[in-house]
């Protein structure tokens, strides 16, 4: 298995994150991927790194974790970028960040495209409120809209965008069009038809349809509801075409040469399957893919020791201990496991010499934490050391199993898309919620240690 994997691994080109970030031609980096894989963190980490390497960067985050937002000073939603403090600006860069306010962005489009009275009518309409707060795709549309605005300002030389937490990475590309065509849709045109064409003969059948529908809908939902819909549609009338056009414009921006897509995925089956779909889709849309960020990959400094051997050794150590204890009580079970003979032979002799073992160990163990008195002079004895060693070995076996699983899923992706450059980011044990953490992620991204590198440094 390993030989196979290494070859596959070697054939996946490395994603050079610093080269991408340093290139002045890179103007937009879009971090996409399915939910929960670390897009926001990756986007923020790239922002910090790019800024500290000298670029004027703005990061557009969507739904960041509360503490992360706080640490970047963007927890208030005012829908404009704020400069992030604590970033090393000695290379001449700067980091600005913002958190997308979807409803506000929508409101601003309305305010910008309708006179004051009309805008107010729209903003107060219950249908508008429901649409702007909850339509599937509004968030994606508004993320694109905001990206378009930031790009138009031309105030930053690098824009890094996070994408909304959707189940499918493709939603980011599809949802804006969905909202656009929904607003331009057939039904809306029917609703507007009477107002627009005023009963022209050719439209008569539509009006029949209309009144039938009006009847049914108002029976169903009450007349008020339908009036609300109609006022909404009438008020939005001038803007409808606009939504389509805007969505199209941003779409083209995403195809432009200065844009780079990074697909973020965890080394898990579902996430990588989504990533593969997305890669194929980007190619079909002629959108430039920079590479795959494989986030939260596990590694081991002791990968030369296999899970199987570690478990066998752990078992040998545990059996040995069990035997020792039983021997005291005269109830040697005489089990016939095949633990390494050498281990058994030596062990009794060595442990026999040390007597303070059980008392000392019990003290420190059952307390559920270090008891200060015991901690000072208890030196681990070989039996407690054996137990510790067994624990370490079990832990290692588990780690190696995780590694193997992650490698299998990654290899499946690489086999499908050998052309996609990959950057692996080692898993941090805890969550990331400060600049130091983001910097650490950035370092790992740029370092991009593959397993082959790991074993190289070991030998």
């Amino acid at each position: 298995m390993t030989a196979d994997n290494t070859t596959l691994d070697a054939s996946a080109p490395r994603l050079e994150v610093d080269t991408l970030l340093d290139d002045p031609h890179t103007r937009i980096v879009v971090c996409c991927g399915s939910g929960g894989v670390g897009k926001t963190t990756t986007a923020a980490a790239l922002g910090v790194r790019a800024a500290e390497r000298g670029r004027r960067v703005v990061v557009l985050t969507i739904d960041p974790a509360r503490r992360l937002a706080q640490s970047m000073g963007i927890s208030e939603l005012d829908n404009v970028p704020r400069q992030v403090k604590g970033v090393d600006e000695s290379a001449g860069g700067e980091l600005h960040a913002m958190m997308l306010d979807m409803k506000r962005t929508f409101d601003e489009i309305v305010e910008g495209h309708a006179d004051a009275d009309r805008a107010r009518a729209i903003l107060e309409n219950p249908f508008y409120q429901s649409l702007s707060a909850g339509f599937a795709g509004t968030q994606e549309y508004m993320a694109m809209e905001k990206l378009g605005q930031l790009r138009a300002n031309d105030e930053w030389d690098l824009i890094i965008v996070d994408t909304p937490p959707s189940r499918s990475a493709l939603d980011f590309l599809d949802a804006p069009k969905r909202l656009g065509s929904f607003l331009d849709g057939k039904f809306i045109r029917v609703l507007m038809a009477p107002a627009k064409v005023g009963g022209r003969a050719g439209m008569k059948f539509l009006n029949v349809g209309m009144s039938m529908m009006t009847g049914t809908l108002s029976k169903l939902m009450g007349g008020q509801l339908l009036r609300d819909v109609q006022t909404f549609v009438a008020a939005m009338d001038t803007m409808f075409g606009g939504f389509r056009t805007r969505a199209d414009a941003t779409y083209r921006l995403l195809q432009a040469p200065g844009t780079a897509f990074l697909v973020v995925a965890a080394p898990e089956r579902d996430a990588l399957r989504e990533a593969a779909y997305f890669v194929e889709r980007l190619a079909a849309e002629q959108m430039p893919l920079a590479g795959l960020v494989l986030n939260r990959v596990h590694g081991s400094g002791a990968s030369q020791l296999s899970a199987e051997r570690a478990l066998a050794a752990a078992e040998a150590l545990t059996d040995q201990r069990a035997e020792d204890t039983h021997a005291d009580a005269g109830t040697d079970a005489g089990d016939d496991t095949d633990a390494p003979a050498a281990a058994r032979a030596e062990n009794n002799l060595e442990t026999g010499g040390i007597v303070d073992l059980d008392g000392g160990k019990a003290g420190s163990r059952t307390a559920g934490g270090p008891s200060p008195a015991a901690a000072e002079h208890v030196t681990p004895t070989s039996a407690s050391a054996a137990q510790l060693a067994a624990g370490l070995l079990r832990l290692h076996a588990e780690r190696m199993q995780v590694l193997a699983r992650e490698r299998r899923t990654r290899d499946r992706f690489t086999a499908l898309h050998p052309e996609v450059p990959v950057a692996q980011v080692a898993a941090l044990p805890g969550d990331v919620h400060d600049l130091a953490g983001l910097r650490a992620i950035g370092d790992r991204l740029a370092l991009n240690l593959t397993e082959t590198d790991d074993t190289d440094t070991d030998d």
């Binding site: 974790a65 529908m213 008020q224 509801l225 752990a314 420190s364 699983r405 044990p429 805890g430």
Partner: protein, 332 residues
């Protein structure tokens, strides 16, 4: 005991998996449960390894007997609720619409109505689930002993269930309005319990706490918290403590005794120690974080249930395993 179990939680924490396991777990002694999904993703079909579910209730699994075999199993039925179909059925039921219904569909009105007004969509979905909860057979017995819903994630669950408020702004009178009120009565009664699935990680735990607060504020009964994908702590405090103080020589000896090479400095066993201890430190850090998150969950004051991480993922056998684990942890 509640009969409508709504399973929510942060995205990807295992809502679908837990809902399915719960539907299996509740199907004991000839009981019949209905597992419903509302987001049109066919997650249930995938999990049960069957073809896509139609908009129609059908049996998808036979629940296992208890471990001892003394208590027989029951059966799980499933339904993928589709808002558009639900609306058409509804129109049909109340208005005998016939061709007018088809015309509406053709014009995109149904699509329009269910999309532009999420409140309307939700009341159709929850309405269907509530109908199944209250449905009785000829003998006046409930058709389903329990209904389990694979619901939208925590971020949307309160709005989703609080249909009355959502629809109130849109439909102030009429059958939709009445339907919303009827649904709300069920959802706010002790017949309903919303369970939140979480992992022992910061974001899901935070969302769980926020979600519980929101649900309570809306007067919707919260059931339990399901902590999913737990991992055993392989080293206990004492071990970690010793490891923290650096037990090099002892451990090197033990490793060597276990046949992993020489214990002397630079020997094979000795070279394993640093990386192994490093892994132990990471593990300790994670265990510590998990403990803090666990404490936070306990502080919410709801019953908790735990499901372990199945290392090879959840296949059908894994699902039954999780169902058994849930059962062992008492009534949910």
């Amino acid at each position: 005991m509640s009969r409508l179990h709504v399973v929510s939680g942060k995205g990807g924490t295992g809502k679908t998996t837990v809902a399915a396991a719960l539907a299996l777990a509740l199907a004991t002694e000839g009981r019949r449960t209905l597992l419903v999904e509302v987001e049109g993703r066919q997650g249930i079909a995938q999990l049960f390894e069957t073809e896509a579910l139609p908009y129609e209730e059908r049996k998808i699994a036979v629940a296992p007997a208890s471990d001892s075999g003394r208590r027989a199993g029951g059966e799980v039925h499933a339904l993928a609720i589709d808002a558009e179909r639900a609306l058409l059925d509804y129109l049909q039921m109340f208005y005998k619409l016939g061709s007018a219904g088809r015309a509406l569909k053709k014009l995109g009105a149904i699509d329009f109505a269910t999309t532009i007004a999420p409140g309307l969509r939700d009341v159709l979905l929850t309405g269907k689930a509530c109908e199944a909860v209250r449905r009785k057979d000829k003998n006046g017995r409930f058709v389903y002993d329990a209904v389990v819903m694979d619901a939208p994630p925590t971020g949307r669950i309160t709005r989703f269930l609080n249909v009355n408020d959502e629809v109130a702004g849109l439909a102030k009178i009429g059958p939709i309005h009445n339907q919303a009120q009827a649904v709300m009565r069920v959802l706010k009664s002790p017949e309903t319990a919303v369970h939140l699935v979480t992992l022992l990680e910061e974001m899901p735990v935070q969302e769980t706490a926020d979600g519980v607060e929101e649900l309570r504020a809306a007067g919707i009964p919260v059931g339990g918290i399901v902590i999913n994908m737990t991992r055993p702590a392989l080293l206990d405090n004492g071990d970690l403590d010793i490891a923290a103080r650096g037990a090099r020589t002892g451990v090197a000896k033990a490793l060597s005794q276990a046949g992993l090479g020489g214990a002397r400095r630079g020997g094979l066993a000795d070279r394993l120690i640093d990386p192994l201890l490093e892994q132990a430190r990471e593990h300790a850090e994670r265990v510590e974080l998990e403990r803090a998150e666990h404490a936070e969950l306990t502080a919410i004051g709801l019953p908790t249930y735990e499901l372990e991480l199945l290392p090879e993922g959840v296949d059908l056998a894994g699902l039954y395993h999780l169902a058994r684990d849930l059962r062992k942890q008492g009534p949910i």
